[in-house]
């Protein structure tokens, strides 16, 4: 139930983040953008040659990729249930034109469950043995997360989920998101340690379901 409540907060935010992290990706996913000024005819455009995403992960590829890059490995019941629920919305092929709102929202929901599993596993480990969140103290309130600790987590996730370091713009975007997340908390939520986990889970889900993470 707690995760459902959390989802209501971060899914809309994540949906915004999703379309933000596409590296050099354009807001138009396919060849609808006009490149004639560059001497490139639309019908000849090869987005891969231009360094843009060129194919989308299909449903099964999305699930297995998320499990792989987060080190979760084996899907638990909650992940499988979420995957089965979202299966119809996830891409039925690799064509980039399939990247539509249901795909992005479905990916975000699935990423939420995978990240929930990741955060649970990392919280159970000692800080030294964690893969992603060694610099985050999950026993303190969300306001105590330092910028450097947050940034380190972002760097780790960027390298694993996106295969590269995050850009300055992307980091700035995520830091802004962190501030807005904390600012939106009221009453006891501000001091509950659960909010710390929620922030990290939401950040993880946003990065894991961004276009760079679900495209080739």
């Amino acid at each position: 139930m707690k995760i459902v409540k959390t989802l209501t907060l971060w899914i809309p935010i994540s949906a915004l983040l999703v379309v933000g992290f596409n590296n050099c990706g354009q807001s138009n996913f396919e060849s609808s953008l006009d490149l004639s000024s560059l001497g490139i005819q639309n019908d000849e455009m090869d987005s891969e040659k231009l360094g843009l995403p060129y194919a989308l992960l299909s449903a099964e590829q999305t699930l297995n990729s998320m499990l792989s890059v987060t080190n979760v490995g084996t899907a638990n019941t909650a992940i499988i249930n979420e995957y089965n629920t979202r299966y119809g919305a996830l891409a039925g092929g690799n064509d980039l034109s399939m990247a539509n709102s249901p795909v992005m929202l479905g990916s975000t929901s699935l990423a939420g469950e995978v990240c929930n599993s990741l955060v649970t596993a990392e919280k159970a480990a000692t800080a030294e043995t964690r893969n992603f969140f060694g610099s985050v103290d999950f026993a303190v309130s969300v306001g105590s997360i330092t910028d450097s600790g947050f940034n380190s987590s972002v760097r780790g996730m960027a390298r694993s989920f996106w295969g590269r370091n995050e850009t300055a713009d992307e980091l700035s975007f995520l830091q802004e998101y962190k501030l807005e997340f904390i600012a939106a908390l009221t009453g006891t939520a501000l001091t509950q340690v659960a909010s710390t986990s929620n922030l990290i889970t939401a950040t993880c889900a946003a990065m894991l379901s961004s276009l760079d993470a679900i495209s080739y």
Binding site: Y54, A55, L57, S58, A59, E60, Q61, N64, S65, S68, V69, N71, G73, T74, A75, I80, Y87, G92, G93, N94, N131, F132, S152, R155, G156, M157, R159, S160, F161, G163, R164, N165, A213, Y216
Partner: protein
Amino acid sequence: MKFIVVSLLIILGARTGHAQVKPDIMAEDPSIIEQQARKLYERLTGVKIPVDSPVVKEMAAALNKGDRSAAAKVATRDPNFYNITVKLMALQLSTRDETIKTPMNDFVAGMIGVTRDQKDARELLTGNFYYMGSGANIRSDMVKDLLISNNHYQDLETNRIDLAANLVRVEGQVIATAEAATVASPDPAGVLTSRTFMGAHALAGTNRRLVEYTFREFMCVPLNDWADTGAPDSRIGRDIDRFPAGDHMKFQTSCKGCHTVMDGFRGAFAKWDFDGMGIKHSAVNTRGGANNYTIATDTNGVINKMNKNNSIFPAGYVTTNDSFVNNAIRPVNAATFEWRGTAASGNGVKEFGTIVANSRRFSQCMAKRVYRAVCRKEMDVAKNQKILSQWGDEFEASGYKLKELFESIAVKPECLGS
């Protein structure tokens, strides 16, 4: 000792694809070679991988030495190569909808098995085998769960069984003749006689779809592209109107083209049928009405639907056995298919599959399929005939090994870049 344990864990992790990777947050952006290694891995396995994975390092080391083939082999040892990439390619070929959103099935198991076991890919159209799995919660009753339903294969998928490790080859295809009885298939032909392919194309209809989709999936040619109005119409069935809307010219210039080639081959499937009780063949199933394990045939053992609607053009061809003729052997199609061996005629599905599998087009089609599966792009056959011919020849030279075809195409400059 500690070093050995850690090394073993890394190797084991790489093999299972579930290595725990700790990102190096102090590292620079990945080098071009590391990016290329990651891209190659993702193309062959269909799954993304952390850039700090030891698998990426190993592949990058091979690429640095200029050994692209070795790098590709690192990726194909990952179970996801079979569980995702080969599976998705096969799913698309297995049903009429040609979608990957199709349940796991026996056709797919066959393609994964043939790829993994490095068998000659022509066996896919000619072999007498099937692949099945095992495990807790996997229903495995031969008749109930494999022959008259898809329960077994669906369970493998639902339970997320590692198909690469779990599938076992079984020699000898069988057909159900009673609730607990099976007999050897009289005309086994790899995945063409799989439950899924037969279920998709022999269900109802007139068995023409089996020919159309064999060519569509394994020759990469839609029916319109190999239609030949100049071929003899002597094999076109009685159910095809020679005067559609009262116009014989329409038949001569349009309908005839597809039916000359399709109906020529259709006889190969004259004794096969499929309904809710699975695959049936008139040589082994009791002849009678189409109930339970019986098959509806005439006295020649030809299924009734082959000769149905016989009043539309009574002078049309009457199927009396499972012989077929290859009307696509004429000059207009010869260059497309490049037939080899005895390709003019034959009997049954196995001989039909053999003719298709031995054509040069089959090899080129497999190369095209693999290109799409790993490079995530369509290849225009007409514009790239020279490249496809070369890739098809390389595939044949490898002994028709699909795994090698995947490894080879994934590192081609046309796919990975130079």
